[in-house]
């Protein structure tokens, strides 16, 4: 490299390296180190796996952890199933103005804070809420119905909150599928089912994977939706982290929880990428 470009290279490299080391890499290493500390006296610590031992032996922690993982997977699958036909419609069936309007209508709600969206669901679902009133008015219920504070409410909120992150990658990949390829599938004797299975879905695979990864991550790391729609007993793993850090001030255990969450999400993302033969660069970049 010439001197000029070498200087430029270093100038461009520095912010990237500073950002990744100081805000991503070292904090996570430090968090890991803290999670290995065991408080043995005032201001005295030993290195041990005690926090992880606590995590594994306390059924509530483990149960919450697994529950969060399973619910997040379910939320991802539901989001995918709901979003796929919609994305297909936007990408392949709607044309011109309708297409851009529909796409924009998908985007706009998500420029609004998640808090507002969740608040909306609270107004709809609570005992004095719209749905309850509607059911009574229609004669389907004879007293107010509480629809908040259960797993279904959490699921509705998670799916709603993540929808955009599934729709956008799906629309983008499906749009790049040439109509002629679908026509060729029919021309050679395919029908809606076989064309979808053998042509549309394989083509959309990168979009499906990247959408699923993001939705899964957002669900797993979500705090607001489970807390507000699931109520006190919602048992979401992020709530445990929050309470260890902020309420109980037990950072050591909280850091171990944080690390477990990170571990779980990395494993699932990695597994999803391996399973579909995709790479992080391709699906995210």
């Amino acid at each position: 490299m010439r001197d000029g470009t070498r200087l430029g290279f270093i100038l461009l490299l520095t912010p990237l390296v500073l950002w990744l080391t100081l805000l991503i890499f070292i904090p996570h290493v430090d968090m890991f180190l803290v999670s290995l500390r065991e408080r043995v006296g005032v201001g005295q610590y030993d290195t041990s796996l005690a926090n992880y031992h606590t995590f594994l032996t306390e059924p509530l922690y483990l149960w919450t952890f697994l529950r969060t993982a399973v619910m997040s997977v379910v939320a991802t699958v539901i989001t995918l199933l709901i979003a796929f036909p919609v994305s297909y419609y936007i990408a392949k069936i709607a044309k011109g103005r309708l297409q851009s309007t529909l796409f924009l209508m998908c985007l706009i709600p998500f420029y609004v804070s998640e808090l507002v969206r969740t608040f909306g669901w609270m107004i709809l679902l609570r005992e004095t809420g719209i749905v309850s009133n509607l059911l009574q008015w229609a004669g389907l219920a004879d007293q107010p119905v509480e629809m908040l504070y259960n797993d279904a409410a959490i699921m509705i909120g998670l799916v709603y909150t993540s929808m955009l992150f599934m729709v956008v990658p799906l629309v983008t990949t499906l749009e790049s599928l040439d109509d002629a390829v679908i026509e060729a599938g029919y021309d050679l004797g395919g029908n809606a089912w076989s064309v979808t299975r053998e042509i549309v879905i394989p083509h959309a695979a990168p979009g499906i994977v990247s959408g699923s990864i993001v939705v899964f991550m957002l669900s797993l790391g979500n705090y607001l939706t489970p807390t507000m729609l699931g109520g006190k007993d919602s048992l979401w793993f992020t709530e445990l982290i929050y309470s260890q850090f902020i309420v109980r001030f037990n950072w050591e255990l909280g850091a171990a929880f944080g690390f477990m969450l990170l571990f779980l999400s990395s494993i699932i993302v990695w597994g999803m990428l391996k399973l579909t033969g995709q790479t992080l660069e391709k699906t995210m970049g």
Binding site: D178, A180, V181, E183, D187, S194, E198
Partner: protein, 370 residues
């Protein structure tokens, strides 16, 4: 080639309107079994619309399409006995070559081993026996072309539709594929319907060509018919190269007319169709190779048209070399093909030449909007 009585494809009064636009206007034609039929026309003439109606991707506004004598109007595209080679081929990038070719067979529920055999045969036939496990984007343009055809041919369709499949290839490969397509058609003995805007593709490969313009067929015939005996001014101008003049008719005599251009040239040609009255406008088309070139007027024999002028450009192009001659009286430019004999090989810019041709070689049409 077997020509049985029922044609493979018949279109009757086929019409397609998009809003007020008649993309295809009352077109009828038949394609005999085993022949190579081309639809030639400029872009936007409606040829793609016809092809998509035959394939089933567009519904005709009116008219009928029948294949082997049976109407297919109510048959969805995946059930029609026609297959299509798409403009950009539309090979499935998510499958390898063998899976691409076997796709239609799998749809028919054929057994795995039988599919493998058939796909192997097809690959053999297109001369690419070892590419089955390759990916689509690992093939060259010409190989993709052949795979796209094989993918259709394993299904043994009654009619194969080809939508300008050579458009994406470079010139050299295109020349090669023309010959190869014709050979493949003979080898598979299947009816090909080919659409293109490239006249040389149509002229080289086809048994029959339909020239299409603004939604209607201007003329259907063999390559020779279109070239030497165009029915309309559009065909004369679109197929092959031609010098073109417009002028007022000054004399009509048993099919031959004499006309005068605004610049003052007097020209004689043969009228196609009924001649308009004297004083009306006519268009004359004259092929550059129909013009005789001579150093002096004696060399032109008794040509009915004789002009003289000066060479202004030499357009060297091997066997198809031409010169542009500026006519002495009026300054009009005329393109003339240099004779193959090499007699004028030493001709250079500024040389004076004489031009001559018979009235029978210049086709005239009543001036229309074409």
């Amino acid at each position: 080639m077997t020509l049985d009585a029922t044609p493979d494809l018949t279109c009757t009064d086929l019409t397609k309107r998009f809003g007020d636009v008649r993309a295809v206007d009352n077109v009828s034609f038949t394609v005999p079994a085993g022949s190579f039929f081309s639809i030639l026309g400029p872009s936007g003439c409606g040829k793609t619309t016809i092809m998509r109606m035959i394939a089933g991707f567009l519904e005709p506004t009116s008219g009928d399409i029948s294949i082997k004598g049976r109407s297919v109007l109510n048959v969805p595209p995946n059930k029609r006995p026609v297959n299509m080679v798409f403009q950009h081929l539309a090979l499935f990038p998510m499958m390898n070559i063998a899976e691409n070719i076997g796709y239609g067979l799998r749809r028919r529920g054929m057994g795995k081993s039988e599919i493998t055999t058939k796909v192997g045969d097809a690959l053999e036939r297109i001369g690419l026996p070892d590419i089955g496990t390759r990916k689509v984007d690992e093939l060259s343009g010409g190989q993709k072309q052949r795979v796209a055809i094989a993918r259709c041919m394993v299904l043994e369709p009654d009619v194969l539709l080809l939508d300008e499949p050579l458009g994406a290839l470079d010139l050299k490969l295109r020349e090669h594929m023309k010959v190869e397509l014709k050979a493949l058609q003979a080898a598979f003995d299947t009816t090909f319907v080919y659409i293109t805007h490239d006249q040389s593709e149509a002229l080289v490969m086809s048994d029959q060509i339909a020239v299409m313009n603004q939604g209607v067929f201007e003329q259907v015939g063999t390559a020779r018919d279109l070239y030497y005996r165009p029915d309309t001014a559009f065909v004369a101008g679109f197929v092959g190269e031609a010098n073109r003049w417009r002028g007022a008719i000054t004399r009509i005599q048993s099919g031959e007319i004499e006309m005068q251009t605004p610049e003052g040239l007097t020209l004689r040609g043969t009228m196609t169709g009924t001649a308009p009255a004297i004083g009306q406008q006519a268009d004359m088309f004259l092929r550059p190779e129909a013009i005789n070139l001579a150093a002096d007027t004696d060399g032109l024999g008794g040509a009915q048209n004789v002009l003289s002028g000066v060479v202004t450009s030499l357009l060297f192009n091997g066997a198809a070399s031409r010169i542009i001659v500026r006519e002495a009286q009026t300054g009009a430019d005329i393109e003339v093909t240099l004779p193959q004999s090499g007699a004028f090989a030493s001709l250079s810019k500024g040389d004076g030449v004489h031009l001559g041709w018979q009235a029978a070689q210049a086709n005239c049409f009543a001036a229309g909007e074409a």
